[in-house]
């Protein structure tokens, strides 16, 4: 039996179905601490579902998912919250709470999950907003932010609790090349001290960020390796996804 205790994240024979559709089938891979792995694949191959399974927003029909030594598929209540707190999640459309200002979006997890005083919370939020370049926008509502600003705000909220593991869903979707590159830069800064799992279609960004790439095809893991290695993979889809235009 494999020992998953030394890994930050490990998927062990994970399968997921929606009704009659098998989205993921027998997926096994692990991510080492402070490693960045990018998941590539055509639309509808289960990339975003993989991220949601890792943070237990969905449960798999089969298999186990180990987060820092805990099987998150078996956890509920307080135990699940404890493990989830090790992770931050940047959603595809940022998923900012539209009834709260940017400041309150970031303050909510700090108020709920830490014992920080109000000045300490202010300090953390100012630091994180400065980090993502949104210092002057803290009182704005999400609908007043542009697409790129929303992504940066979503990243700020994901980072505010200083997670060990960062899950990122399509960081460059809907953004122009320059703005996407700015988001990549922010993620690169996190790379040294955070384990990252990034779902992306942007090969350019993937090649800058990824230590390894996992390619999903028809719900199965078609390839796993360094981007340069996968350029010569026998599977045409894998080569097509990893090669830059």
């Amino acid at each position: 039996m494999t020992d998953w205790n030394d890994t930050a994240v490990a998927l062990d024979h994970v399968s997921k179905t929606f009704g009659d559709k098998q989205v993921l089938q027998d997926i096994t891979f692990s991510v080492a601490p402070r490693e960045t792995i990018c998941i590539l694949g055509r639309s509808g191959t289960g990339k975003s579902v993989t991220l949601k399974l890792i943070i237990a927003l969905m449960k798999p029909e089969a298999g186990h998912i180990w987060i820092d030594g805990d099987d998150i598929t078996q956890l509920e209540g307080q135990e699940l919250s404890r493990v989830r707190r090790k992770m931050g999640f940047l959603f595809q459309n940022a998923a900012l709470f539209d009834f709260l200002t940017l400041y309150d979006n970031l303050a909510l997890p700090l108020q709920r999950l830490t014992r920080k005083s109000k000045p300490e919370i202010e300090e953390v939020i100012d630091r994180v907003l400065h980090q993502v370049g949104l210092s002057g926008d803290r009182e704005k509502l999400p609908q007043e932010l542009s697409g790129g600003m929303k992504k940066r705000a979503g990243l700020a909220r994901a980072l505010v609790l200083e997670p060990q593991i960062l899950l990122v869903d399509e960081p460059s979707s809907g953004l122009d090349r320059i703005t996407a590159s700015e988001i990549d830069e922010l993620l690169l800064k996190q790379k040294q001290h955070t384990t990252m799992i990034i779902v992306s279609h942007d090969v350019h960004g993937v090649r800058r960020l990824a230590d390894r790439v996992a390619v999903l095809e028809h719900g199965r893991l078609a390839a796993l390796g360094k981007p340069q290695e996968l350029e010569h993979h026998e599977n045409e889809t894998v080569r097509g996804l990893v090669m830059e235009e």
Partner: protein, 261 residues
């Protein structure tokens, strides 16, 4: 193993079970810390304060129409002096509570269902869960509690507006003084004609809040889900409010026999 498609009856039972379990969770979580008072206040402002113009205008219009209708018939029988009392009793006992509840089901119920469905579609609810925050406690409980508290207050406003516009109508038609109108209006009114019917609207509020939140929170169909949640919230909560009214009126008659007209 892939799930098999459930037949109609099984699906119906499954939906009923889910709704029952949702309702029980609302009740259990309402008594469990943290109590989210700031969010309850926010919702109370939104549901209560912003519904007030609709409640006031409807109460005034209904009071006026009601007086105009009853006066023609009562005058024929020489019972014009009964107009204030009939106006007062009908508003306190039935019109105020039921109309206020149906108006709130339309305005607040649709809004709650749609906003929660929108939050589901845009992954905001997933984002709350991903932050290790209980989304049910944060989003559902304050909405239901606010609806539970707001409806008796809104009903009181509707009663007041109905009686006030009844007086204004009578004053212009028969030049009755305020003092005489009030004396006649409250001549046969007991506390049991006002308090139990007003308090029963707290149950209506609970129904509207829970049903609307159920449709909004449990949908997962994007924009179509938002539309369905808004429609189902209004239709189902209005229907359940009317059914609950029948049961609660009977219960009030059993507990307060003197309130039966």
């Amino acid at each position: 193993m892939p799930e098999k498609k459930a037949p109609g009856l099984t699906k119906g039972l499954e939906a009923t079970g889910k709704a029952a379990s949702f309702t029980l969770r609302v009740i259990r979580d309402a008594f469990r810390a943290p109590f989210e008072l700031a969010y309850v206040w926010l919702e109370l402002t939104d549901q209560g304060w912003r519904s007030l113009p609709l409640i006031i205008s409807s109460g005034l219009a209904l009071g006026l129409v009601m007086t105009l209708h009853t006066r023609t018939e009562l005058i024929k029988f020489g019972a014009g002096a009964w107009i204030p009392e009939i106006q007062c009793l009908s508003f306190f006992v039935e019109i105020g509570p039921l109309v206020a509840a149906l108006l709130v089901a339309g305005r607040v119920g649709a809004g709650m269902g749609a906003s929660l469905a929108e939050m589901r579609a845009t992954e905001q609810i997933d984002a709350i869960e991903a932050l290790s925050i209980d989304s049910f406690k944060l989003l559902i409980v304050p909405r239901v509690v606010a609806c539970f508290l707001a409806l008796p207050l809104l009903t009181t406003f509707m009663d007041f507006c109905g009686v006030t516009s009844g007086f204004l109508s009578e004053h212009f038609l028969s030049h009755i003084s305020l003092q005489l109108y009030v004396a006649r209006a409250f001549r046969g009114v007991e506390w049991s004609n006002f308090i139990p019917p007003t308090l029963k609207t707290a149950v209506f509020g609970f129904i509207i809040g829970t049903v609307s939140c159920f449709f909004g929170y449990t949908t997962n169909e994007g924009a179509e889900g938002v539309r369905k949640a808004a429609t189902n919230s209004v239709v189902m909560s209005s229907l359940l409010v009317i059914l609950a009214d029948v049961i609660l009126v009977k219960l009030i008659f059993v507990l307060y026999p003197e309130s039966a007209l």
